[in-house]
C-alpha cells in the first residue's frame, strides 16, 4: 500500500497536467454561493448548484445526480458551519473525487471565512434543537459576507487556473462594487470608496458623514433605515446576519428551537411577546408554512413578510442582488404595526 500512495498521487498529478484547458467546473452547495461564483468565474468556469432556492439545505439527501456533479467538479464550494452535514459527506465520499475533499484546494468552505454569530457560549446539547456548534450558517444574507465570498472564490479559482487570475480578480471587484452600490447607492459610492462606506456604517457614523458632505444616502441601507431598531419575529434562526447588518432586532422565532416546528403554546407566547416587546413584523422564507405566522398576525395585527433567503426561492430572486433587493423591498413596504413602530 505504501508504494501505492505516491503512485496514486503521481497518477492524479499526471492526469491534472495532461488535462486539456477545459473550462473549470465549479459546484456550489447552494444557489447563492453558485450565483456569486458565477459572477466571479464569468465564462471561464461552468457553475452548478446542488440546492435550488426552494430547497432547505439542511434537509437534502445525497442523490446520484449530486454525486455526478461532485465527481466532475474542480472546485466545491460549501456554506459550511455544518449546514450540509446531513448529506454533503455522502456526496463527497461517493464522488471519488480527491480534488474536492475537505482540505484540498478544490474545497472552499465559505463558513470558515466569515465572522459567525450565534456561536453557543456554553456546552452544546441536542436539547437545544438543531443548533450549529460553530455558529449560525445563514451568513450569505449579509451583503458584506457576499463580498467576502466573492473575494475568496476569485483567489481559489486563480489557484486552480492561474491564467484566469486577472479576470477572476476583476470580476470579484465588480461584484463587490455592485453590492456596494446596491447597499449605499451610486451617489455615496461615487464620493466615498466602498470599503470606507462599510467601515463608516459599522461605526455608526455613515449617516452623519453623508449629511456633512451633502450626499444623498441610497440603496438598501437607506431603504431599511426606517426599520432600524425594529423588533421582528423570524420563522427559523436564518435572518440573524441580515438583521444585524440592517439594525433589526430578532425578538423571537416561530420555531421553539431550531428545527422543531411550532406548537400552539409557543405561538401563544409569541403573541404575548409581540405585544409586550413591541414587535413590528414577522419575517420568514416562503418554503416554511405561513400558517403559524398568520395565526400570530391575526391576533396581533403584525404584518407577515414572506421573502426568499436564497436565489431562486421566488421568481423575483433571480440572482443574489435581486434576492436582497426583494427582501429589502418587501420589508420596506411592510407597514409595521402601530405599537411596533419605533422611530
Amino acid at each position: 500500500m505504501r508504494t501505492m500512495i505516491p503512485a496514486a498521487a503521481a497518477l492524479v498529478a499526471a492526469a491534472a497536467l495532461a488535462a486539456p484547458a477545459a473550462p473549470l467546473r465549479v459546484v456550489a452547495t447552494t444557489s447563492d454561493l453558485a450565483d456569486i461564483a458565477r459572477a466571479v468565474a464569468g465564462d471561464r468556469a461552468g457553475v452548478r448548484s446542488i440546492c435550488t432556492g426552494a430547497d432547505d439545505p439542511h434537509m437534502m439527501q445525497g442523490k446520484p445526480s449530486f454525486i455526478l456533479a461532485a465527481r466532475d467538479a474542480d472546485l466545491w464550494i460549501r456554506v459550511g458551519l455544518e449546514l450540509e452535514i446531513g448529506w454533503e459527506p455522502v456526496v463527497l465520499e461517493g464522488s471519488r473525487n480527491p480534488r474536492i475533499q475537505p482540505g484540498q484546494p478544490g474545497h472552499l468552505d465559505a463558513g470558515s471565512l466569515i465572522e459567525p454569530i450565534d456561536v453557543p457560549a456554553g456546552p452544546v446539547t441536542r436539547e437545544m434543537g438543531d443548533v450549529h456548534p460553530s455558529g449560525n450558517p445563514h451568513f450569505w444574507v449579509d451583503p458584506w459576507n457576499a463580498r467576502i465570498i466573492a473575494t475568496a472564490v476569485a483567489e481559489r479559482l486563480a489557484a486552480l487556473d492561474a491564467g484566469g487570475a486577472g479576470a477572476y480578480a476583476a470580476n470579484a471587484a465588480s461584484f463587490r462594487k455592485a453590492v456596494d452600490e446596491r447597499m449605499f447607492g451610486a451617489a455615496a459610492l461615487a464620493k466615498i470608496p466602498g470599503d470606507e462606506l462599510w467601515a463608516l456604517r459599522a461605526a455608526g457614523t455613515l449617516d452623519e458623514r453623508l449629511k456633512r458632505e451633502g450626499i444623498a444616502g441610497g440603496g438598501w441601507d437607506a431603504m431599511m433605515r426606517p426599520l432600524r431598531g425594529a423588533r421582528v419575529f423570524t420563522y427559523h434562526r436564518s435572518w440573524g446576519y441580515f438583521a444585524r447588518r440592517f439594525g433589526l432586532e430578532v425578538a423571537g422565532e416561530i420555531e421553539p428551537k431550531p428545527g422543531i416546528p411550532p406548537s400552539g403554546a409557543h405561538l401563544d407566547r409569541l403573541v404575548a411577546k409581540a405585544k409586550s416587546a413591541g414587535v413590528a413584523l414577522i419575517l420568514q422564507e416562503p418554503f416554511y408554512n405561513a400558517r403559524a405566522a398568520r395565526r400570530i398576525a391575526e391576533k396581533t395585527g403584525l404584518p407577515v413578510v414572506l421573502t426568499p433567503i436564497s436565489v431562486g426561492g421566488a421568481p423575483e430572486a433571480k440572482d443574489y442582488l435581486a434576492t436582497i433587493d426583494t427582501a429589502v423591498a418587501r420589508l420596506a413596504a411592510a407597514k409595521p404595526s402601530a405599537e411596533g413602530a419605533r422611530q
Binding site: 435550488t52 432547505d56 446520484p64 455526478l68 459599522a202 422543531i260
Partner: protein, 436 residues
C-alpha cells in the same frame, strides 16, 4: 457498562478539547475581516478537532404476534426456505429471536473518521445483553484516481439496496422476508474486500466486485469438517451494478442488479437423534435487482417526501449429497433448490415529521427442490403485508408503530399471523450521513 460509558468519555473529551481549541483560535490570516466586530464575536475560526465521530444507536421495540408457535419458528420451517439444522442461531454470537413483549436490538457503537488524506475507517461494535460482536471494522480509500475505491475489513456488502443499511435505517421495524430468509438476520456481512468504480459516464454508474470469507448463516454456510470437504476461502464472490439517471432537483432514482455466488454446505439431523446424519456440499447463487425512487418535496420537516422502492432476489442452491447415514444409496446425487422473493414499499411524508408507509412482499413464487432421490417438490408462496406510521421529533429520534399480517406456508399448511410493534430509535453523538 464499560463499552457504553466510553463513548461518553470520548464525547466529554471532545467537548473539552473543542473548548480549548476555541479559546486558542485566532482569526485566520489574510481573510478580510468585517468592520463590525460585535462584542463577544471574536471567535472566528470554526472549532476543529481531530477526534472521530462517535455515536451510539439505541433501538428497542414492544412486539406482539399471535402465531401458535412463534413466527421465529415458522420462519425456520417455511417451505423451501427452512434452515438446515446446526446452522443459524449457534453459528453466530447473538440470535435475533423476537419475543412478545419488550425487545432491545443490539446497540451500535460507531466510531468513524478519516485516517489521513488517503483512507477513511469505521468501527461498529454491536452490543447486546449477551455480549458484544464486531459488526463492522473497515477502511476505504478516498484518494484513488479514476473513480476507483477499495474497501476492506468486515463490512456489509453493497449489493441491492437494504443490505448495506443498518437496522436503525430501515423504514420498517423488520427487514424484508426475502433478506431474512436468504441471508439471515445480519444480511451479507462478512470479512472481505471490495473494489468499486464510479464510471465517467453522463449518468450515474457504479460497479463493484467483492470477495468474502463466506460464513453467512443462511445461503453461504460453511462447516468444512468431515465428511464435508474443506473449501478454500474466500468462498463468496459478489458483483453489482448501480445505475441512476441525472434527474433534476427533487428527484432521485437508482436501479441496481446484483449476483452473489459461493460455497454452501448443509448438515441435517434427519432422525432427530441429536447427531448429524446427512451432509451436503455445493454452491449457492443469488441474483436480483433493486430500484429506489425518492422525491424530496420542497417543504420542511420531510413533509411531502415520497419514496418507492423494491427488490427482487432469486436463489439457486446446487448441492451434492456427500454422505448420508440414513440413505447411503443416494450419496453422490445432486440436490437443487430454487427460491425467490420480492418486496415493494412506499413511504410518504403525510405531515411535518410524520411518515406513513406500506410494504407488500412475497417469497417462494418460484419454490422448488429436486431431491437426491430423484423426486421433485414444489411449495406455495408465502406473503406479508405491513403498514407503518412513524414520527420523527428530530433527526436523532424516531417512534414507529407497525402492523403486519402474513400468510406463511409450512408443512402443516398455511399459518396466518398478525404482528404489531411499537418501536423507538435514538441516536446520540455524531452520526455520519446516510447514503441514498
Amino acid at each position: 457498562m464499560n463499552p457504553i460509558v466510553r463513548p461518553f468519555a470520548v464525547l466529554a473529551a471532545t467537548t473539552l478539547l473543542a473548548g480549548v481549541a476555541a479559546a486558542q483560535s485566532a482569526p485566520a490570516a489574510g481573510v478580510p475581516s468585517a468592520p463590525e466586530p460585535a462584542p463577544g464575536l471574536s471567535l472566528k475560526k470554526v472549532v476543529q478537532s481531530f477526534n472521530p465521530d462517535v455515536s451510539a444507536v439505541l433501538d428497542g421495540f414492544y412486539y406482539y404476534e399471535d402465531s401458535a408457535e412463534g413466527l421465529g419458528h415458522v420462519m425456520e420451517e417455511l417451505s423451501g426456505f427452512g434452515h438446515a439444522h446446526g446452522e443459524g442461531e449457534d453459528a453466530h454470537g447473538h440470535d435475533h429471536g423476537i419475543d412478545n413483549g419488550f425487545n432491545l436490538r443490539h446497540i451500535e457503537l460507531i466510531v468513524s473518521a478519516s485516517v489521513d488524506p488517503y483512507f477513511r475507517a469505521l468501527v461498529n461494535a454491536a452490543v447486546d445483553e449477551h455480549g458484544a460482536e464486531l459488526e463492522e471494522a473497515w477502511f476505504e480509500t478516498i484518494a484513488l484516481p479514476g473513480g476507483l475505491k477499495l474497501k476492506a475489513g468486515k463490512f456489509y456488502s453493497d449489493f441491492g439496496y437494504i443490505n448495506a443499511q443498518h437496522a436503525h435505517q430501515w423504514d420498517f421495524t423488520d427487514q424484508p422476508l426475502i433478506y431474512r430468509l436468504l441471508l439471515g438476520d445480519h444480511g451479507l456481512n462478512d470479512k472481505g474486500a471490495q473494489l468499486s468504480w464510479l464510471a465517467p459516464t453522463p449518468f450515474y454508474l457504479v460497479a463493484g466486485i467483492e470477495g468474502f470469507q463466506g460464513d453467512n448463516e443462511a445461503s453461504y454456510a460453511y462447516h468444512g469438517e468431515e465428511p464435508l470437504p474443506e473449501r478454500d476461502a474466500p468462498r463468496v464472490a459478489v458483483g453489482w451494478l448501480k445505475f441512476g439517471p441525472d434527474l433534476p432537483g427533487c428527484h432521485g432514482l437508482q436501479f441496481g442488479v446484483f449476483g452473489i455466488t459461493g460455497a454452501h454446505q448443509e448438515e441435517y439431523d434427519g432422525d432427530e437423534d441429536g447427531t448429524h446424519d446427512q451432509w451436503l456440499d455445493g454452491d449457492s447463487t443469488i441474483w436480483g435487482a433493486d430500484f429506489i425512487y425518492r422525491y424530496d418535496a420542497p417543504k420542511p420537516y420531510a413533509q411531502g417526501d415520497l419514496t418507492v422502492q423494491g427488490e427482487y432476489a432469486s436463489r439457486t442452491k446446487s448441492l451434492d449429497l456427500v454422505a448420508d447415514d440414513l440413505a447411503p444409496e443416494f450419496v453422490g446425487s445432486a440436490r437443487e433448490d430454487r427460491q425467490d422473493g420480492y418486496y415493494l414499499q412506499t413511504l410518504y411524508g403525510v405531515l411535518p415529521r410524520w411518515r406513513a408507509g406500506v410494504r407488500w412482499e412475497q417469497v417462494g413464487l418460484t419454490n422448488e427442490a429436486d431431491l437426491p432421490n430423484g423426486e421433485s417438490e414444489s411449495f406455495d408462496p408465502s406473503w406479508k403485508a405491513s403498514a407503518m406510521v412513524d414520527f420523527t421529533p428530530s433527526e436523532f429520534s424516531r417512534f414507529r408503530v407497525q402492523v403486519a399480517r402474513g400468510g406463511y406456508e409450512t408443512e402443516e399448511g398455511t399459518e396466518e399471523a398478525t404482528e404489531v410493534s411499537l418501536q423507538a430509535i435514538f441516536s446520540i453523538g455524531a452520526h455520519g450521513a446516510h447514503k441514498f
